[in-house]
Symmetry: C2
């Protein structure tokens, strides 16, 4: 028998409880012995719950779980930095294996936690921390182990993907869709971690660390959210054959790793363009396998619960059969993380100008002087005194583009640089 201590009984915790209960026969067969939830840590014992749960399992005292000799495996589903981080560290020190879905803690403290688990001869698993139910952590570690991974590109945040999908389909502005999403429970009341890109940054940090076998400081990742994406940009993207997605990228280049999260123009025929609503997708390029893409639900009680319970089954099996089978992806490689200004991209620019003769010539000169060459130019609503000018550049290092934009701002007839969005998936 394997005894489990559950930390947290929120959305995912309840999902894990339900799956363990519903499929317990199946799980027993897979693990080779019975797996039981022995204790559950909650903040408030008296809170009403929609779960058929024995009250004796519930406790408000973490020590009853973390210091409990009878408990073999701790499942941390509290989320956030503290006290989750502290509990995980204590559990590992007490030689308990840990399963967690905590992207923040794994992204920020992954190396400390992995080393501590290895030192104590226990397991740490975190499939649920990235892309919900889509199998990605284990496949990266095991199924694609024969490959050198060259690139991971993903839609890793369901909230922003839902908002961008609705903005596109219903031709609405960001703020309106955000409000609907909050009402429907697809966005949190404080949605900043999602919409400012931090959530996706934690996830690409975890995946890149695994793929490139290195230690990536989440602070070194360039992060830009979707607050500034306007309905106008989405409509122009559509006209030009693109959709706008919040893309997380981890690429290995000769001169370092290129890791970033930002809204991107994605060609409509690119597989990622078709991933809509709360769906997530991860696209991987390996030197042997070529391109592999997986998609599915990236969040939610049951999909994330599915990933967490898969980790529980595997960890419980290893405990039951005394397998020292935790493959630790150590930070064996040392890479430079490229600054975003050194990365080459195509750019979409929307610039508000006075519609006068010679304006375009002046703009083109500034861009050309800064090594920025244009792939296409689109002038909207001519015959008005102020017009939006839409430019798509050829690939150019962002520092050159930024310098040209600074110079453009000082031109008399340039009123505003309204948008600057990177283009992914059709770089020449």
């Amino acid at each position: 028998m394997i005894n489990i201590g559950l930390l947290g009984l929120g959305t995912v915790g309840s999902g894990v409880y339900k799956i363990m209960k519903k499929n317990h026969e199946n799980i027993k067969a897979k693990v080779g012995t019975k797996v039981e939830i022995k204790k559950i840590l909650v903040r408030d014992k008296k809170k009403k719950r929609n779960l058929d749960i024995n009250n004796k399992l519930i406790t408000e005292d973490p020590a009853e779980i973390i210091n409990n000799q009878e408990i073999d495996l701790i499942v941390e589903l509290i989320g956030g930095e503290n006290p989750a981080h502290k509990y995980i560290i204590e559990a590992l020190k007490n030689k308990k294996s840990v399963v967690t879905a905590n992207k923040l803690v794994i992204a920020k403290y992954g190396n400390e936690i992995l080393n501590l688990a290895e030192k104590n001869g226990v397991q740490i698993s975190y499939e649920g921390s990235v892309a919900g139910g889509i199998p990605i952590v284990r496949p990266l570690k095991e199924s694609l182990a024969a490959n050198r991974i060259k690139e991971i590109t993903g839609i890793l945040n369901g909230t922003t993907n839902y908002i961008l999908t609705k903005m596109t389909e219903e031709k609405k502005e960001f703020a309106d869709v955000l409000e609907t999403a909050q009402n429907k429970g697809y966005a949190e009341s404080d949605p900043s971690s999602d919409i400012d890109g931090l959530d996706a940054a934690y996830k690409i940090c975890i995946l890149s660390s695994l793929a490139f076998e290195t230690l990536i400081d989440v602070k070194s990742i360039y992060v830009e959210g979707i607050r500034n994406i306007s309905r106008e940009d989405i409509e122009i993207a559509d006209e030009l054959g693109y959709v706008i997605k919040l893309i997380a990228i981890g690429k290995q280049g000769k001169d370092g790793l290129d890791i970033r999260v930002h809204p991107s123009f994605v060609p409509k025929n690119h597989p990622l363009a078709l991933v809509n609503n709360v769906y997530n997708a991860v696209y991987i390029h390996g030197d042997a396998v070529g391109d592999v893409m997986s998609h599915g639900k990236g969040a939610g009680q049951m999909p994330t619960g599915s990933a967490v319970v898969a980790d529980i089954i595997q960890a419980a099996r290893n405990i039951n059969y005394k397998n020292g089978n935790n493959y630790f992806v150590s930070a064996r490689q040392d890479y430079k993380i490229k600054n975003i200004v050194e990365v080459k991209n195509k750019f979409y620019l929307r610039i508000k100008v006075n519609d006068k003769p010679g304006v375009m010539a002046n703009l083109a000169k500034v861009l050309g002087d800064n090594k920025v060459s244009l792939a296409s130019v689109l002038q909207k609503n001519r015959l008005k005194p102020v017009v939006p000018l839409v430019l798509v550049t050829h690939p150019v290092k962002e520092k050159y583009l930024n310098k040209s934009l600074e110079e453009l701002k000082s031109l008399e007839d340039v009123i505003e640089i309204s948008s600057k969005i990177r283009v992914e998936g059709d770089n020449e």
Copy 2:
């Protein structure tokens, strides 16, 4: 040190050799010890090979590998039924773990082989047997272990997908595209196993056995290939908003398992419709995770090599750390396999009729009398004496449809039932 014996040095065998050589440092780190190819069985030692290989490794005598005390792990990449099956059995009896990419042997003898491996306390892995480089066997066993799998739908054969894609894109007939595919090496000189659906049947047999934890006799699977798909059907499909794909299905229903391989109409907005050329895709529905889909290259030296080497790494790790970590999916469940005539589907029918008043009324009566109701009717090229009539039915059990088709054939003005193709992915 883990010593490997390689049986076969064809396309995939050479790929495995190359990957093991190129990524040996990486593999050593993952396994925890050096992994070395000690012996390679070939049919003809003198054959010229485009590989930098020490001649001492090569042998024509299987006993030098299978009975070799120094070899821990046998990698079978000969393919076909015999002698591959015999070698695998002998290796397991000699207490060697086995990695194979042999779909035929695993589909036909999976239970015998799994039981033998379990009895001898060794491992058997076969990720490379299905969908090439796409991680699917291990994810089904491990990453989705918390789920009850309800449905697997896949495009599992690259050759037929390539042929159907080219027929669609280039508006060509089957025979012409097959010839091009053979010239390009995308189809074998005897392509029957691919184009008649048997290859896909082996694969869905393996995946369904895993997903439903049961023993599926490959002979109980309904199999229909793509030889009879005409350019005309593909064009009409396009008009109606579909593409034609060779689909492999494993579904769990109340009254048994529905397992089959056949060409299908797939709505253009269904994710599988977008999987083209030699790409494979597997779409899984689990009770917790919901829908997950993966796609990638389903065959070829490096993608399949990627899957085989991943199995090698895992098996070698387990040998190195003495992990008894082979989870055997035993045939714990007993299901009835539904006969295809009991399965409900929508059908596309193309029927050649004399264009006379009353013909449609007579047809509709026969169909209605047999419980077949129509979702749409399309009459092509009117004003000619003989016209193709295109019908799409509502979902109906195939036995009722078959009976109505028999009756239709006897109608005076029905010249020919030209096509009957099932419709997947938009069943009501």
